[in-house]
Amino acid sequence: MSELLQFLFSGVTVGAVYALVALGFTIIYNASDVVNFAQGEFVMLGGMITWFAHAAGLPLPLAALSAIVVTAALGVAMNKLMIEPARGAPVVSLIIITIGASIFIQGAAQLVFDKQIHSFPAFSGDAPIRVGGATILPQSLWVIGGALVVFAGLWVFFTRTLLGRAVLATSNNRLAAQLVGINTNFVMALSFAVSAGIGALAGVLATPITLVAYNVGIGFALKGFAGAMLGGMGNPKGALVGGFAIGLIEALTAGYLSSQYKDAAAFVVILAVLFFMPQGLFGRKSADRV
C-alpha cells in the first residue's frame, strides 16, 4: 500500500511539471493555433536565469521574479520576430520555426550561461513529508500547487474575462475578431508573455527537484506536448489532466512493470487515446474546411 502511494507521489511530482509545460502550450495554441516547441526552453530559462541571478547575489525570490519577467519579455520578442511574420504558414513550417527558435535559445543559453548542471535550494527545506509510509518533498507540493493555481487562473481568464474571450475569438477567426474591435496583435503578445512566464515559473518551481542545464528544455517540451495532446490541445483542463496522467503512467509503469519502458507506456496510451478520440480527451471537434 505504501508502495502504491510512493508511486503516486512520484507520478504527481513529475506530472505537475509536465502539466505546467502543457498549460503553457495551451495559451499560445489558443491565441494562434501554433504549438510552440520552444516552450521547454522557457522552463530552462526560468531555472537558469534564477540560478545565475541567485549566484550573482540576488535573494532567491527576487531572482525567481526576474527570471519570470525576463523570460516573459523574451516570449514577446519571439512572437514579434518569429511568429508574427510567419502568420498563415502551414503547420509543418510552424513546427520548424518553433523548433528553430528552441535550438537558437539553447545555443544562446550555452554561451550566455554555461554547460554545467545547476540547482538552487528548495523553498521550504528538504525534509520529506511522511504520509502513510511514503514520502514527498515540500518542493513537490510547491510544483503541484503551482500547476493548480495556474490552471485555475487560466480557467477563470478564458471563461470569465473579456480579454480571455478575446484570445479565444482571435484563435477562432482572426479577421472577425479584428472586426469586432479586438486588438489581435496585443492579444498575441499577451499570450506569449503569459505562456513564457508560466514556462519560467515551471522552471523556477521544478529546478530544486529536477536540476537545470542549458539542454533540458527539449525533454520538457516533448513530455508537455504529449500531455497537452493527450488532454486535447487548447483546453486548460486537458493540459492539466494530460500532464498529470503522463506523470502517473510513467511512475506506475516504472513501479509495476518495467522502468526501461515507462516512457513507451506513456506514448502507447497516447496512441490508444488518439485512436478512439482523435482530438484528445477534452479537445474541440473541428470540421474540415473545404
Binding site: 520555426i97 523548433i99 527558435a101 537558437f104 527539449i218 495532446m229 526501461q260 516512457d263 497516447i270 496512441l271
Partner: protein, 318 residues
Amino acid sequence: MRITPKLATLLVLAALVAITPFFFPSGYYYRVGALIFVNGIAVTGIVILTGYAGQISLGHAGFAGIGGYACALAPVHLGLHPALAVVLGAAVSALLAYLVGRPILRLKGYYLGVATLGFGILVSMVLNNERDLTRGPDGIDVPELGLRALLKDQGLNLTNGEFWYFFCGICLILGAWIALNLHDSPAGRALRALHGSEVAARTVGIDVARMKLSAFVISAVYASVSGSLLALQNKFITPDVAGFMHSIEMVTMAVLGGVGSVLGAILGAGILTLLPQVLTVFAEYEQMVLGLVMVLVMIFLREGLLPSILRRLRGRGE
C-alpha cells in the same frame, strides 16, 4: 527533345555527382558528399509524404533506425548478405509503416505529429533497451557491403570514400527518378489533390485513406534505405539514427530546401549537412546559426529555398 522538369532535375543531380569530385582537394570531401546523398534519399521520401500528400511525420528516423539495424543484425543472425539486409530492412519498414499508418493517418496536423513522434520514440527505445540484440546505446558494428572489393576485381579500384560517394550518388539519382515518376503518375496527381483538400479529393472519388497510406509506406522505405546506407558506410550504427533529433533533421532539410520539389529538398539536405562542417570555426555559435537559419528561411522563403529562388528568377525574366 524537350527538357521536362523531371529530366532537368535528374540531369542536375547526375552532373553534380559526376563533376564536383574534380574540385575535391582531399578524401574528406567524398565523405561529406556521400552524407549529403544519404540524407538526400531520406528527404526525397519526405517530399513524397509531406510535399505531395501533405502529411507530417516527426518519427521517420524510426524507419532509418530499422534500415540501419537490419544491416547490422540480419547478416549476423540470419546469415543474409548485407545487400539483402537492405531489402529486408526496407520490407520491415514498409510493413510497419502499413500497420502503424492505418490508424494514425486518420489524425491531422499536430495530432499526427505527436502520433508519429511516439512511433519514432518507441523504435529508438527498443534499439536502446534490447541490449542482448542491439548492444544498446553504445552501438553495434555493421559488416562490410563487399561491393567495393567486387569492383576491384573488375579492375575498378576506388578508395572507400570514393566508392561510397558514387554509390550513394547513384542510389540518390535512382530514388529521385522514382519520386519524379510518381509525381507525374495518376497516383501522384491524386496525392497532390488530397494535399489541396481531402474533402474535395474524396468527392472526386479518390480513396483518401489508401493514398495517404501508400505515401507513408513509400516514404518509410526511403528513410529505411537511407539508414541502411549510413550504417553500411560507417560500418557502425547507434540508436541515435532513430532519435527524435534525426526525425526533425529530415523534415527540416526537406522543408528548408523546398518540400514540394525533389531537387529543392536535396538542396536542403546539402545545406544542413554542410552547415556544421562550415561552422567549425565558430563552433560555439553553431547551434544559434542553425536555429536562426531554420527560422529565417521559413519566414522569408516559405516554399523553401529552391522554389523561392526559381520564382524570383522567373519573375525577373518576364
